[in-house]
């Protein structure tokens, strides 16, 4: 269970998040939407302790991670898998080495066991046989899939996705959406997706939260959320720019 209480974050004089509070139950699939630069990725990074809030609390399974040191956080991060916007694959390693990274660091499984876990993870993301490729040889969609395989190989309880379909064509985006749903269904993980892709939000989320003006502005089940008559929600969902913004 993830709980965020009165979270505030600023970079210099620029406030990004102001009094953000919400709760995500185990096994839930939540999509956080909002405008580019609105603080969605910053919020996501707070959940896994990559950023420390200026004030407020982040509780993972009831444990407040704010006062934890980097070394104490490593234990909590075992519960998380994260897929980054640019995949963040280790470019000096092959696909297999990337996917096996966490297992090798644990030093518990044998090489044979690691190899079979890597095969299974790559099969799950529809990339069998790519073990020996380098990240530079992969397309954007394939890199995201490898990133997902790396995130799920050690069977985390929570998977975070940072803009998983950004920069991908609609067909690849569709396959990533299906993959996220498959991982959620098969592994019974808590899923948090940050996106501004409305199709992804409709399909993947059991609940949609909208970050607007540094706060959680609206939240609800996709059916109700996308039918909302609130002008700010409507404007974002329909993708309509202000007159002022057209000039830019």
């Amino acid at each position: 269970m993830i709980e965020v209480r009165h979270l505030q974050k600023s970079f210099g004089a620029h406030k990004i998040l102001d009094d953000v509070s919400f709760r995500i139950e185990n096994g839930e699939s939540v999509v956080i939407i909002g405008r580019s630069g609105g603080g969605k990725s910053v919020l996501l990074k707070h959940l896994v302790g990559l950023l420390c809030p200026d004030s407020g609390e982040v509780l993972i399974d009831g444990e407040n991670i704010r006062p934890m040191s980097e070394r104490q956080l490593l234990r909590v991060r075992r519960k998380f898998g994260m897929v980054f916007q640019g995949a963040a694959l280790f470019d000096s390693m092959t696909v297999a080495e990337n996917v096996a990274f966490a297992l090798r660091r644990d030093n518990i499984l044998t090489e044979g066991e690691i190899s079979s876990r890597v095969c299974a993870a790559l099969e799950m993301v529809d990339l069998p046989g790519t073990q020996n490729k380098k990240p530079a040889e992969l397309s954007g969609g394939m890199r995201k899939r490898v990133g997902l395989a790396r995130a799920i190989i050690y069977e985390p309880q929570i998977v975070l996705y940072d803009e998983p379909t950004t920069g991908l064509d609609p067909i690849v985006s569709d396959s990533i959406d299906k993959l996220m749903m498959r991982v959620h269904g098969h592994l019974k993980v808590t899923t948090v997706v940050v996106t501004h892709d409305m199709r992804t939000a409709r399909r993947v989320g059991q609940r949609v939260m909208m970050l607007h003006n540094k706060k959680i502005y609206a939240s609800g089940a996709p059916e109700g959320f996308f039918e909302s008559r609130d002008p700010i929600v409507r404007q974002f969902v329909d993708g309509v720019a202000d007159e002022k913004e057209i000039l830019f």
Partner: protein, 259 residues
């Protein structure tokens, strides 16, 4: 003017503070035994084996030039056969470790800062952290240990090749009598000179890796940030090596005097 000075002082103190925190994390990681031998061996290969060519060329030509210049001066006072002794002591005490460290700072310090800096701007370090791996355990400690191990070995290589090449120039080009040349070198070069060189190289290894890692971990965003971090890693480690060398020379000179 005061504001500028204050800003500069604040910047320097803040950098020193951050380096101290990094050093603390390194000590904690070492105490917790977080070193993975495979990573350490790879870094020894990367820092040590791959730096050999540049270090050998530097050592050889430094030895040759130093030998020739010493001979030109000593020849005036008929002390030709003392040439190799001067070369040997100079290389062991000062030039061997310092020049090796400066060359390695250019090659390895820059590469460490660029590699870690690129990992930072492409979120690979964040990915490491989400995979429950402390960046200091995985990126910094193996490099620091490898540099501590590799630098003394590289410095010794440089010293040996420097003395050998100086001997070749002295005997085969300048026509110095080889027996006395070699005998004087052995007579005036003591174990303590070799130990001083090794200790200095050991310390410079740590300086190069620590500054390279620190600059990489704290680099600004984008290509410009990585470029700046790389440049600063080389400049700061070179300056730190030269300044540290002066103090080490004084301290070790005193210690040798006391022994």
């Amino acid at each position: 003017m005061n504001l500028l000075v204050n800003k500069r002082v604040h910047y320097v103190l803040s950098e020193l503070g951050q380096i101290s925190f990094l050093a603390r994390d390194i000590v904690v990681s070492l105490l917790m035994g977080k070193v993975v031998w495979r990573d350490l061996l790879y870094q020894i290969y990367s820092i040590g084996v791959k730096s050999q060519m540049v270090v050998l060329v530097t050592g050889a030509f430094t030895g040759m030039v130093l030998g020739a210049q010493t001979y030109f001066q000593f020849h005036k006072v008929k002390m030709d056969t003392a040439t190799l002794a001067v070369v040997s002591v100079s290389l062991c005490d000062e030039l061997g470790p310092v020049l090796t460290a400066l060359m390695v700072a250019g090659r390895v310090g820059a590469s460490i800062a660029a590699e870690i800096g690129t990992m930072r701007v492409t979120e690979q370090i964040d990915a490491l952290r989400t995979l429950a791996t402390h960046p200091v355990d995985y990126l910094v400690v193996p490099r620091i240990l490898a540099a501590h191990i590799a630098l003394p070995l590289l410095a010794m290589e440089s010293i040996v090749i420097g003395i050998s090449s100086s001997y070749m120039v002295g005997v085969h080009i300048l026509g110095i009598e080889p027996t006395y040349l070699w005998d004087n070198m052995l007579k005036y070069t003591h174990d303590v000179d070799v130990i001083i060189g090794l200790v200095k190289a050991f310390i410079y290894g740590g300086i190069i890796a620590l500054i390279g890692c620190y600059k990489g971990l704290t680099c600004g965003l984008g290509a410009e940030g990585v470029g700046l971090a790389t440049t600063e890693a080389v400049v700061y480690s070179s300056i730190t090596i030269l300044i540290t060398n002066f103090f080490l020379t004084l301290v070790m000179g005193k210690l040798v005097g006391l022994l």
